[in-house]
Amino acid sequence: MKIWMIAGSLTLVGLIGATSLDEPIASAPPEQWTLDPVHSTAMFRIHHAGAGRFWGRFNEVTGTVDWNRTNTDAPNFDVSVKADSVDSGNEKLDGHLKAPDFFNAREFETITFESEGGTRLEDGRWRIVGDLTLLGVTKPVTADVEITGVMGSPVVAKAGWEARFEINRSDFGMDWGIDRGSLSDDVQLIIGLEGGIEPGG
């Protein structure tokens, strides 16, 4: 009798276990990944004087990503970039970029991106839709996101994402140099993020 009870219990556990392997793929709650500001960056690329492509970056990127590594749902991003952390590699140019003509960092301290889901393109790649707020103007943007890696250990789990999207900066009221052709209107943004989950997080 005891043997049958144990066998019956194991079968029940097995059945529940089997069910839990199939079901959570669609319904598992997202895990919240806190972005690592040291290993996250936001880069932008703009056409300068109709000639070269110029790169700049923001050094202070913070936020969270809601994503469950066991399912295929698109991650949800809540990313904040400090506008005065803009870094072009040239101090004088940084001054101009922080000034009212460009990012107006005194008035608009952060640039934010909040996504609202998206569609799966292939394994580990999604097209997400979200709101970008720049210079106090919020516009919907579409970004292609890929997972660049997931590392799990008993101590901490880490994951990386890379998002690419293109905007017309004039949509946000950043017009300097467009009419004279010194800087292009379209800007490509590449956001490299790394987030972690601490034990118990």
Binding site: D84, N90, K92, L93, G95, H96, L97, K98, A99, P100, D101, N104, R106, E107, L135, G136, V137, G173, D175, W176, R180, S182
Partner: protein, 281 residues
Amino acid sequence: MLESILMSVGLPALLMSVIVTCFWWPKAFAGGWWGRGTVVIVLVGAVTVSFIASVGLPAWPPSQKWHGLVWFATALGILGLVDTTVHRDQWAVRMFLAGLVGLSASWLLKLPAMSQLTVGCAIGIGAFLTAMTDARGGRGLTMLGWGWASAAAISMLTLVTGAISVSLMAGALSATAACVLVLAIIFRARSVGEIGGGALVMGGLLTALALTSYSYDYDTVPTWAWWLSLGSIPAVCLFEVGAFARWQGLSASIIRFVFAAALPVCAILLNWSLIEGALSG
């Protein structure tokens, strides 16, 4: 950058010079209200055209705080035109108008990390002090001279902060003041020597431009340099006290100009290494 300077400094100064010429050349306008009002129109016009050339038509409400500069300039222009009708001795009316300048500044020009009270008081005081120098005749040419120097200093210091559009607006004001000064000498426009309103506008615009640049700066320019760039305003007021006030004539105008312009020129010279760096960037 050269194209920006031509469009946002050269073009406004050229347009305003044409306007001045049109109003001062015909003798019918020479001594009338339009002769004096022209100075107000061109000073405000220079800043406005420069803004439009750099940024485009201003939106209401302003999409960015500093865009309020152009709306404030418009209000200042209206008050400046009213001021041209005020008699020299009606200092209480001038004080009232300067108060309205301060009020309009606190409403229209909101600056980051600066209270509306500070903005209104600073710009109102700047406008009041310069307007009081208008209370006596023969100050128009001097005002254009020190206004040119002060606006040039603000323009150069603002260039260091990276706020190029604001720098070009101050540059347009400076270039226009210089052009009007030259045209006044060419046309021997006595009315310019007796202007009222031009100084109220000059004081209001200079203080507003300096305050805007200061509020957006990341400590790249020392605070004392901004004070020096506006030093012309209290300096020219000193010449309205006691025996100095009765001092008239060309020599008095030249001394007033040299003394008042010396402070902004010092602001430029003492920060030349910073300005040179910004100009070469």
